[in-house]
Symmetry: none
Subunit: 156 residues, 2 copies
């Protein structure tokens, strides 16, 4: 960003100087003002467009970078992989099978209530499992848990 502004300034300065100089050489005509004006306008317009695009692109790029941090660690196989859970990772994190089960359902977008109904347990139980799983995953939200779970190869 700074570089662009710098270049912009330098070009501007050089431009002015050159114009000032040429003014005393040739083209000391009556209508030179309009010509010079048009030239300056055109040049700076182009420069402006360039700068604008550049600036905008930078910003977008930066934003995207921040947004794109997710580091995928697919342990599975390329196309059409049936997905095999990384049991080792699960063990390592101390996540129990039941917690894994709940986690899977969470990843499918079910609410605690729905999970409870599907597994024939109380909602409180689901919450407990969730809490523990989130803890072990280091997640603060269920969406984050899902994200982390996928990165770690625990979820499809």
């Amino acid at each position: 960003m700074k570089r662009q502004v710098l270049i912009f300034g330098v070009v501007g300065g050089v431009l002015i100087t050159v114009l000032k100089w040429t003014e005393y050489r040739f083209l000391v005509l009556e209508h030179s003002f309009e010509i010079y004006g048009a030239l300056i306008a055109a040049l700076f317009a182009g420069l402006g467009i360039w700068l604008g695009v550049r600036m905008h692109e930078r910003r977008e790029r930066v934003v995207v970078r921040e947004v794109t941090v997710p580091v995928e660690v697919p342990v599975s196989i390329p196309a059409s992989a049936p997905f095999t859970r990384d049991e080792a990772k699960r063990e390592q994190l101390g996540i129990t099978p039941r917690e894994m089960e709940i986690l899977t359902l969470v990843a499918e977008g079910l609410s605690n209530r729905e999970i409870a109904e599907r597994l024939f347990v109380s909602e409180n139980t689901v919450k407990t499992h969730c809490s523990r799983a989130f803890d072990k995953l280091g997640a603060k939200r269920r969406t984050q848990a899902v994200q982390l779970g996928k990165e770690m190869g625990l979820l499809p």
Copy 2:
């Protein structure tokens, strides 16, 4: 796009005219040329920046997607899919670029507050976008929205 160019031209013309006119009124000083030059330069630079940003915004949404790709990092699979968002699907569902942006961040496990901070908007705005996006996706919860989004090729 065309309108921008038109405005650009019109402003330019008016500018020249005004300058030409003022030239014969006041400020007929010796160094007026430099002043005028600077003014023209500044104005057209600003105009150019505006135009540049405006123009660029057009395909920005698309570009963003392409840039968003660099997710690769994994150890195994080198031929991993770079992921390209299904813009057609997005259009079809009537999901706006902004909503898509929010959805992406939701999928990364960020809370509404965090999203708001990252995008420099209020939390309420984020909620609004979320609601609309969920609606269009037919999701009741953010986790479900993420799940559906992935199935539909809208999210990585």
